[in-house]
């Protein structure tokens, strides 16, 4: 409203999506309104012409891990299968601003993965070579080159785990996670997708071995196909239809500092000393570490994990010594045995699964959404996710990314 004599208040932005009531039935019901669920909905509508689609979110859109991650984006994983899906995703990130018509603040400032031991160095060099063979940009930096690329890294030989080199992916970087979610939600909404918030799935309707609908806190909804996209809660949902997943849910914590002048120009990760850090656009340092070891759905972890990660960060960046921690939080991540995702069919007909991204699925948001939409629309996997099937744990064809997944991410 406008009052005479007062400056016009800042405009509240237009609503980015409708807030509809559930329809009785949809062609596709997606469970989970995080980044992956929203991207899947958008590509179902855009790439496959499926518009009678709903995204069911028990809380508010993108309030789960999508709101809690440290936004690191890269594609320098070891194996060919991973290179395929993560690089597909990175290429989509490179065009996403125009595609979604939203400045998602994707910044390709480069990602350093530090090496602190001879095995780290060998693993890093192996990965650089593997990446190049897959057409992915990767460089090996000597300690002097690390100093040149990121001057505030402590290169002293006197620290407990001296920096012996690093891999660098220049095309890696960060993006603004909320904007990514909102951009996908807005576009999916424009194409007719219903975003149903406050809609918790509590059960499934089956006919024999086929899923035909879901039961929710907002009533029953019939569905041609149902797609799980529930990250840390995937096991809870799958167990409702008797499908076992090789997933354990753990807390993963992160923190931010107060706003600072620009001081850190890239993303720095260290698997050995357990820390990764970047400086967000606004100016705060964003930091995370590894998961808490125990199973949990509580969205909080133990303080000593934060303490260790800060100790590691301080040794690597003595310049941070008087920075304050403003906020810490936790998300619940879906950890798989081989640190690779599970994306494909389930033993239940018309029920699909996308989970197991664990500590590193933000970077995969566009790529996972793309191939998952293909899998759902065709009832068969896209070539890029065929290897990430649930049955690989029975056949033994694991995709072991524990090295490249590093601490996380």
């Amino acid at each position: 409203m406008r009052r005479e004599g007062l400056a016009e208040p800042a405009q509240h932005p237009e609503r980015l999506w409708r807030n509809p009531d559930p329809k009785p039935s949809y062609d596709v019901v997606i469970i989970g309104g995080g980044g992956h669920g929203l991207a899947t909905a958008y590509y179902l509508a855009r790439n496959h012409g499926l518009r009678n689609v709903a995204v069911l979110e028990r809380g508010w859109l993108a309030g789960g891990n999508m709101a809690r991650n440290t936004t690191i984006i890269r594609s320098n994983y070891l194996w060919d299968e991973s290179a395929g899906i993560y690089e597909h995703s990175l290429k989509l990130w490179e065009g996403l601003k125009d595609d979604l018509d939203y400045d998602i603040q994707f910044s390709q400032r480069g990602v350093l993965n530090l090496a602190h031991s001879l095995p780290d160095v060998r693993e890093g060099l192996r990965r650089v070579n593997a990446n190049r063979l897959n057409g992915i940009d990767a460089e090996w930096l000597t300690p002097d080159q690390v100093k040149e690329f990121c001057p505030i890294v402590n290169l002293s030989a006197e620290i407990r785990y001296p920096v012996m080199g690093a891999t660098l992916q220049r095309r890696g970087g960060i993006a603004k996670h909320d904007f990514v979610a909102w951009a996908y939600a807005r576009k999916a909404d424009e194409l007719g997708v219903d975003m149903l918030q406050g809609c918790e799935v509590t059960g499934f309707d089956l006919q024999g071995d086929r899923v035909v609908g879901v039961r929710t806190s907002r009533g029953r909804i019939a569905a041609g196909k149902v797609a799980l996209c529930a990250a840390g809660h995937s096991s809870v949902l799958a167990s409702m239809v008797g499908v076992g997943l090789p997933i354990q849910s753990h807390p993963l914590q992160a923190l931010v500092s107060e706003l600072l002048e620009p001081i850190l120009n890239c993303v720095v990760m260290s698997g050995a000393v357990h820390v990764y850090v970047s400086q967000a656009h606004k100016g705060e340092l964003v930091m995370g570490a590894g998961i808490d070891p125990y199973n949990s759905y509580a969205q909080r972890g133990s303080p000593h994990v934060i303490e260790y990660q800060l100790a590691a960060a301080l040794e690597l960046f003595p310049v941070f010594s008087r920075v304050h921690v403003v906020r810490t939080w936790g998300g619940i991540v879906d950890v798989s045995p081989d640190a690779s995702p599970i994306l494909g069919l389930t033993p239940i007909e018309n029920l699909f699964v996308n989970c197991g991204w664990g500590t590193g699925g933000f970077k995969a948001t566009p790529g996972a959404g793309w191939v998952y939409a293909h899998t759902i629309a065709n009832g068969a996997p896209h070539p890029l996710n065929a290897a990430f099937s649930l049955d690989r744990f029975t056949t033994g064809a694991l995709i072991d990314e524990h090295g490249a997944a590093a601490v996380a991410h």
């Binding site: 076992g244 199973n295 509580a298 909080r300």
Partner: protein, 79 residues
């Protein structure tokens, strides 16, 4: 989080190593187990939201293993 060690009492979780789900038994006759059952033994574990029987090892204390039941939604120790 305080973990009740049966021998040392309540101690901070930083002193412990986590052992995951309790009661995961090695197959009785490994030679006759099929791929499905091996996969189950190796990779598939219960992951409930709620009461979870699990293993803990008091690494920085008495160095003994024990089981307890914890609620994974609240971190409350049930037994």
């Amino acid at each position: 989080m305080l973990i009740p060690c049966p021998w040392c009492g309540d101690r901070e979780d930083a002193e412990f190593k986590y052992g995951g789900a309790a009661d995961v038994a090695y197959p009785k006759d490994p030679g006759s187990v099929d791929d499905q059952a091996w996969a189950g033994y190796l990779f598939f574990r219960p992951n409930p939201k709620g009461r979870f029987p699990e293993r803990w090892y008091h690494a920085a204390g008495c160095r003994r293993w024990f089981n307890l039941v914890r609620d994974t939604a609240t971190h409350e120790i049930v037994t």
